[in-house]
């Protein structure tokens, strides 16, 4: 795959598909939900971590030496990456109640912590896969199963008890199973897109991480 095809077609198509697939919420009616302002802020943090790890080299997308069309392609990739990052994080945050607040705060802390840890490209991709996978299971398997309408009397009783104990703040609005598949597609495609981003290369990335750590550990003179 040539850089032109990757930057002009493959990456924008993949990232915009992440945005679209992640926005679809199928319940009693279908909703195309754009990412919230908070998700857009989290998306910026995620891009910062991606750049810091060397998984994305912005200078390979926007530079004076590149043609105008190439720079426009680079800009489109960066904007699409921002929106897609925000959308995958929005997909992982539950729709309502206490879990929504807990997941949002957890993601914020996790991204700040990842930025402080300054992982390299490979470690970041592993970390994102594990985090996304775990949050996907929590939201689309555990919470969804807890919130699904009870089929047996015992389940309905347990659900009523759970709703009473948590003052209705835990259970989520019911969603169609297709929403879960679309969310999984969105997450998987996002990881593939991050893998395909023009990276800094291993040596340069390690050098940047080392330099970053050195700056942090060097005591400042008063």
């Amino acid at each position: 795959m040539t850089p032109a095809i990757r930057e002009a077609i493959v990456l924008p198509a993949a990232l915009l598909t992440v945005l679209l697939a992640g926005s679809i919420r199928i319940a009693q009616s279908t909703v195309f939900a754009p990412p919230s302002v908070f998700a857009l802020v989290l998306g910026l943090l995620l891009i910062r971590v991606i750049v810091q790890s060397g998984a994305l080299a912005p200078e390979q997308l926007l530079a004076n030496a590149r043609s105008a069309a190439a720079n426009l392609n680079g800009l489109a990739v960066l904007l699409a990456l921002w929106l897609a990052s925000a959308q995958v994080l929005a997909v992982l945050i539950p729709e309502s109640g206490l879990p929504r607040i807990v997941f949002a705060v957890f993601l914020l802390i996790l991204l700040i912590n990842t930025a402080a840890a300054a992982p390299d490209r490979v470690r970041l991709l592993r970390s994102l896969s594990v985090t996304f996978g775990a949050l996907f299971l929590l939201k689309f398997v555990v919470l969804r199963e807890l919130s699904a309408p009870g089929t047996s009397g015992l389940k309905r009783v347990l659900q009523a008890l759970l709703e009473g104990v948590t003052l209705g703040s835990l259970l989520q609005p019911p969603s169609h199973v297709a929403t879960s598949y679309l969310a999984l597609l969105s997450l998987g495609l996002f990881l593939v897109a991050v893998f395909l981003l023009p990276d800094r290369g291993l040596e340069r990335s390690e050098a940047l991480v080392k330099a970053d750590l050195q700056v942090r550990t060097t005591p400042t003179r008063r």
Binding site: I5, A8, P12, T30, A70, N73
Partner: protein, 171 residues
């Protein structure tokens, strides 16, 4: 000059066009919130002027409407305009809610409410918001008149208790 950079340039421009079109489609889906595949395809077709209502279903709907079979009329109108893009068909749907909800002693608020939502949509769909339907079987011909009639039907006023209201006629 080698062929590769020329190809790269063409690929980059084609990619930009594709990206803009794809992003526009997503933006349209976010703002329009279509609920069915028919609404998506109809909406896209109407943006290039290729959308048209099913004339046979529209004729069926009008026949039911004139026979005061309003539920059947709405089903036929929905078939005629599945993408909800035709202002005239939506006007008839709103009118069917008005006629079905109209009563000498009281009006059905729920049906009038549905009618208001539909007439708002119809006015939004009409060019420059001007919706006029020339049909000699109707006594209301414009979107504004129908909307005013539906809103008046939902208001609680002193005139509601006027016994002379039983002599009023349905439009």
């Amino acid at each position: 000059m080698s062929a590769a950079p020329r190809n790269d340039g063409a690929i980059r421009v084609a990619g930009l066009v594709f990206t803009v079109l794809y992003a526009t489609l997503i933006g349209w889906l976010f703002t329009g919130q279509p609920q069915t595949v028919a609404q998506i395809t109809g909406g896209l077709a109407s943006t290039i002027g290729a959308y048209s209502v099913d004339q046979q279903s529209l004729a069926d709907g009008l026949r039911f409407f004139r026979n005061d079979q309003f539920v059947e009329a709405r089903m036929a109108f929905a078939r005629a305009d599945p993408a909800i893009r035709d202002a005239r068909t939506q006007f008839y749907i709103a009118y069917s809610y008005y006629r079905q909800g109209w009563g000498r002693l009281y009006h059905d608020d729920a049906l009038y409410g549905e009618g208001l939502a539909v007439i708002d949509r119809a006015i939004a769909l009409a060019p420059a918001g001007r919706l006029v339907v020339e049909d000699e079987n109707l006594r209301i011909h414009s979107g504004e008149e129908l909307k005013a009639e539906l809103e008046a039907g939902r208001r609680r006023e002193a005139s509601d208790f006027n016994p002379m209201r039983v002599f009023r006629e349905r439009k």
